[in-house]
């Protein structure tokens, strides 16, 4: 028994269109679910870290999200804060919680993602900033630039992006709580509305109201709780903030830098990973990560995913719960929760046999931020 960080509880709300419930309501529900799963009480919580979703944190950020949520949950934690890292935020707060509990700064750290875009525009509002004058709106435009580069450099075809979309829905069909469970075919993908070419509607993640929470504690503390803890074996971040000025920004994600660090501290390499949960705001990001984490060679992700390789019956299932493309936009925290369920052996119909290791990633803002988490049963 040690102070090593483990995940002892997970919980989330329904994901989808939930008008009438604020993000605060959703976050409180997810927090209660995670505590119930772990078997701890609110008075046991001495750490609170939050990842405010796109409509809550990136634009406003005036009242710190953790402070308001902490007040609402009646918490006076020893350690607290919010991370504004876009889609890397959820993985980053798990990392920060792991560091905090291992350093003895707190012992039971609640990590929460939540958002309610159906009642709040936030980052989904169009038409701000100098680039809006050119009609450059939304994350889809930026990721379209990356997809175009990949197609230009490596001959990647739309149907290879489509493999990612089809696989996500096939996984979601086996996930009872997923927002989009209807299977799609490659024909459906080809017929999908072009939004910002080369990306179609089915290349884009869902927009969801919902919240998800994870309890991080020490291995020692978890020994008294309902579940054996899922161990945090490795973690790292890397960022590309110079954006357009960077020679690599649209071609290689910072995952190429933080992936080997996170895997290395776990003593693992890509072939050792049983469950792969890659941040999938757009299909192209899954292709780039398969390359940049080293699951295939640079430029070869298109052919690599063909034939359903990352689908439920493939040799390398990716995002077994459907991910942001089909399970729901959970900011990356649902990816963490799916990893925990797989490593506990609780994933039901979609369980990966003998799952002992998982890699979870987060990617955010203008392709600027990246965080990696390696978990083990």
């Amino acid at each position: 028994m040690s102070r090593s960080a483990v995940i002892a509880g997970v919980g989330h709300t329904t994901f989808g269109r939930l008008p009438g419930r604020s993000a605060w309501h959703l976050e409180a529900e997810a927090a209660a679910a995670a505590l119930a799963d772990a078997g701890v009480r609110p008075s046991d919580i001495d750490g609170l870290l939050t990842d405010p979703g796109p409509t809550q944190g990136i634009v406003d950020g005036i009242t710190p999200h953790f402070a308001r949520l902490g007040a609402q949950l009646g918490l006076d934690p020893d350690y607290s804060g919010s991370e504004i890292l876009g889609g890397a935020g959820s993985v980053a707060i798990i990392e920060r919680a792991a560091l905090a509990v291992e350093a003895g700064l707190c012992e039971a750290c609640l990590c929460i993602y939540g958002d309610s875009p159906s009642t709040n525009d936030g980052a989904y509002e169009y038409g701000r900033g100098d680039e809006a004058a050119f009609g450059f709106f939304g994350a889809v435009g930026l990721h379209g630039l990356a997809a175009r580069r990949h197609m230009h450099r490596y001959g990647t075809r739309p149907e290879q992006l489509g493999e990612v979309a089809v696989a996500a829905r096939a996984h979601a069909a086996r996930t009872p709580h997923a927002q989009k469970r209807e299977a799609i075919s490659m024909q459906d993908y080809r017929a999908s509305e072009p939004l910002v070419e080369p990306l179609r509607k089915l290349d884009c993640c869902l927009v969801s109201d919902g919240a998800a929470a994870v309890l991080v504690t020490t291995e020692e503390r978890a020994s008294d709780l309902r579940h054996r803890g899922i161990r945090v074996l490795g973690h790292a971040q890397a960022h590309s903030l110079s954006t357009y000025a960077s020679p690599e920004h649209f071609d290689t994600l910072p995952a190429a830098r933080c992936g080997p660090v996170a895997l290395g501290s776990a003593g693992l390499t890509p072939p050792d990973i049983d469950v792969l949960l890659l941040y999938d705001c757009f299909t192209i990001v899954v292709l780039l990560q398969l390359e940049d984490y080293g699951f295939c060679a640079k430029g070869e992700s298109g052919p690599f995913v063909e034939g359903g390789r990352i689908g439920p019956d493939g040799s390398l299932p990716v995002n077994t719960s459907g991910g942001l493309l089909a399970e729901g936009y959970g900011g990356g925290m649902l990816h963490v929760i799916e990893a925990v369920r797989q490593l506990r052996g609780e994933a039901g119909e979609r369980q990966v046999a003998n799952a002992e290791t998982a890699l979870v990633s987060g990617h955010g803002l203008g392709m600027n931020t990246h965080a990696t988490l390696v978990l083990g049963s």
Binding site: G141, L145, L195, A245, F250
Partner: protein, 139 residues
Amino acid sequence: MPDPMLPQPQPDALTAPFWEACRRRALEVSACDECGHLFLPPGPCCPRCWCERLTPREVCGRGRVFSFVVYRRTYHPAIPAPYVVALVELEEGPRLVSNIVGCTPDEVAVDMQVEVRFDEAGSFTLPRFVPASARRETT
């Protein structure tokens, strides 16, 4: 008259000189007095050496399409689809987001040579780009 609804640039102390130069139909980048690095967007110091002595430098206006997207859905009523947004790499090195105009979206390609063209848009002048060959034909 341009649609008054068109989203307008929002200049601040750092970027106002760039937009003022556009009004004079000049495309300017920032040049570091110390190391000579040329960069966009304008900032408080050179992003290479952190020197604060910077001078605006007019560039030739030629470049290439580093990557591009075609908006097929209209997201803003003042900017009807289809239109092309590109990341243009200037001959001098810096990159900027702009539009490719003067050709159809299907004619745009990565690495295509382009040249700047200044368009009035509300109270701003926007630096847009046209295919370099098309520009030569019209001048």
